[in-house]
């Protein structure tokens, strides 16, 4: 796992639900077909109301029309990110769009579990409200071992919360790899 992530920020508000991350009518594409799986990247965050898409100004699409990847690889959000449905298509959509990390004030439980157990992306948390400290298009640097984030525009540094009891699963790359290492499944 890379210890450093450098990328461009995409900022969202509070209570971003899974219908915003991937609207329900897209949930029919085959997750096991590599070509269809890319469609989840194309439609990632396509349900976000335009005025809330890419704060503080809004009206910035996460993925440019017709593209399958986003130019923004770090998502910054407020509290309760990923609330709503249990659809694992949500972290898959973000991963397919090229998201490497999310830093939110807090997460809804099922999204968090899916991100961790599926090994799709790092759901990080920060005590400070980064949605007022970061603007969409800011260049960010994250150090995973030292657990901080730096905004290159403002040169401000913010400390990230430790992953706590799920760290072993995150660092293993998901529940299956963790369970094999821990001897819970054998094959």
């Amino acid at each position: 796992m890379n210890k450093k992530i450098i990328g461009i920020a995409y900022v969202l508000g509070d209570d971003v639900d899974t219908d915003q991350i991937i609207p329900a009518h897209h949930l029919v594409y085959d997750l096991d077909d590599q070509k269809e799986r890319k469609l989840y990247g194309r439609f990632a965050m396509s349900g976000t109301p335009k005025q809330h898409a890419g704060l503080p100004c809004g009206f910035i699409p996460f993925v440019p029309t017709g593209k399958e990847e986003s130019p923004y690889s770090i998502v910054i959000a407020g509290k309760n990110f990923g609330c709503g449905s249990s659809r694992e298509h949500a972290p898959v959509a973000l991963q397919m769009a090229g998201t490497q990390a999310i830093i939110a004030s807090s997460y809804a439980r099922i999204f968090y579990r899916n991100a961790v157990d599926g090994g799709y992306l790092m759901p990080l948390e920060c005590e400070e409200d980064l949605t007022v400290e970061v603007r969409t298009t800011d260049k960010l640097e994250i150090d995973l071992s030292e657990k901080w984030l730096m905004n290159h525009r403002t040169e401000k540094k913010f400390y990230l919360k430790p992953l706590g009891s799920v760290e072993d699963i995150v660092m293993s790359g998901g529940i299956f790899k963790y369970a094999k290492k821990a001897g819970i499944i054998h094959h």
């Binding site: 219908d19 915003q20 949930l27 029919v28 609330c83």
Partner: protein, 430 residues
């Protein structure tokens, strides 16, 4: 320990568990449906091999319910994937579309088919799996990866959740339903007010409540971020399940040393009909304060508001009246659909009451609750305003992002259907 802690301890082979601990537990039932089943099967095969067998074929329950009556070719393919898997694995608990055993909405079907056994553990690939907490079961939603893991091992890790207690006191007034109570609670504690915690209901208000109403309460625990809702199981629970019950259970009750992070008390007679406004289930107002909101559609259906008690309540209001706005009735399951045809109010079947009122009855499924493909029954394809008995009103939840959904009880939705604007049901109840 709380009910939840007792269930988790017995399933971890432990005497005690404490909130915050990560433990591995044995799973009693795994449910999946057409939206998340194919992905779950894909992960199961990727990790355990093409010839792998599920850990226990009697404990895997497959209930297609989301995208059923659609021409969408991808949605139809997903049901084919379920069929192939069921055949290959010889799974007895499959409720196939177009067959005699087709049920409809999974959370109501699980109860009707006896899988909601008190004291056991149910995981489902749907966030509203928490509905089964109404039976004193530990039931919660998971994603495809966790479900694939359970399919192969019969186990899953969980963090033991803390519990918040909600004591409901007194009798339910005739104008009030469980939906009003849970919307009030979500409004009070917020849409993340119980994140990673269990919402435990108790009090005489709960004892008097029918099982379907308890299901409504637990169903929307997830809308406050809860891991599940749970109700102490009692004789009503046992009677509802009857001989449909799939295994022996345990009627765990929270005991004297149970620790609650917070306790809340509600006197039911002080509560009023509540509506959640766009675009959050926590954005609540009294129905009587929203009478200026004009509606394009009224929708009564889903795991939250499409059970027989919900249609009984709606029929009480709609009888001998005509709706003033497009009104859709979507029974959650085929059993509820049959009950609508046989149950009567003053000698008239619910079906006739709805048809005489000019409401339209659709086939049992999740239908427009979560939008779905464009040809879904009741989907909001324009900038319509809908009042619905469903559970979520996020942007675009029931169709296009231009649409708006308000959430309310079946009584409030039925009363509003008669006026075309949001209406307090007390205007129609003597």
């Amino acid at each position: 320990m709380t009910i939840t802690e007792q269930i988790l301890a017995t399933h971890a082979g432990r005497k005690r568990v404490k909130p915050g601990e990560n433990i591995w537990i044995d799973v009693d039932f795994l449910m999946t449906h057409d939206v998340c089943g194919p992905g779950t099967i894909g992960i199961f095969k990727r990790e355990f091999g093409d010839n792998a067998k599920v850990w226990d074929k009697n404990r895997v329950v497959i209930i297609p319910d989301h995208y059923i009556f659609t021409k969408d070719k991808h949605a139809k393919r997903n049901i084919e994937i379920l069929r192939d898997f069921v055949t290959e694995q010889h799974l007895p608990n499959f409720y196939d579309v177009g067959s005699n055993c087709y049920k409809g909405v999974c959370h109501v079907a699980l109860a009707e088919e006896g899988f909601t056994v008190p004291g056991t553990v149910l995981f489902g690939t749907d966030s509203h799996t928490c509905t089964a907490g109404a039976f004193g079961q530990f039931a919660t939603g998971i994603g495809n990866t966790d479900a694939g893991f359970i399919m192969g091992t019969g186990k899953l890790w969980v963090r033991v959740p803390e519990t918040q207690q909600f004591i409901l006191e007194g009798e339910m007034p005739a104008y009030l339903m469980a939906k009003d109570v849970i919307l009030q609670i979500i409004g009070d504690i917020g849409v993340d007010g119980a994140t990673y915690q269990v919402i435990e209901f108790s009090g005489d208000g709960i004892k008097n409540m029918e099982m379907e109403e308890r299901m409504t309460l637990c169903n929307m625990a997830i809308e406050a971020g809860g891991k599940t809702g749970i109700v102490p199981p009692d004789q009503k629970t046992v009677d509802y399940l009857g001989d449909r019950v799939r295994m022996d259970g345990s009627l765990f009750q929270s005991n004297g040393d149970a620790y609650y992070v917070r306790s809340h008390s509600y006197s039911l007679k002080n509560l009023e009909p509540i509506v959640a406004c766009p675009f959050s289930p926590g954005h609540v107002h009294r129905a009587c304060d929203l009478s200026e909101i004009k509606l394009d559609q009224c929708y009564i259906g889903s795991c939250t508001g499409g059970k027989i008690v919900d249609f009984r309540a709606a029929a009480k209001i709609l009888k001998d009246h005509t709706v003033q706005v497009k009104t859709l009735i979507v029974p959650s399951t085929t059993q509820v659909e049959k009950a609508i045809q046989t149950e009567k109010v003053d000698g008239v079947t619910l079906r006739d009451i709805f048809q005489n009122a000019c409401a339209e009855i659709g086939p049992p499924s999740c239908a427009a609750c979560l939008g779905g493909p464009e040809d879904t029954f009741g989907r909001l394809n324009n900038d319509e305003v809908c009042l619905s008995t469903t559970n979520r009103n996020f942007p675009g939840r029931m169709g296009t992002p231009k649409s708006q959904t308000y959430l309310a009880s079946p009584l409030t939705v039925a009363a509003s259907a008669l006026t075309g604007r949001i209406t307090d049901p007390r205007e129609y109840l003597s």
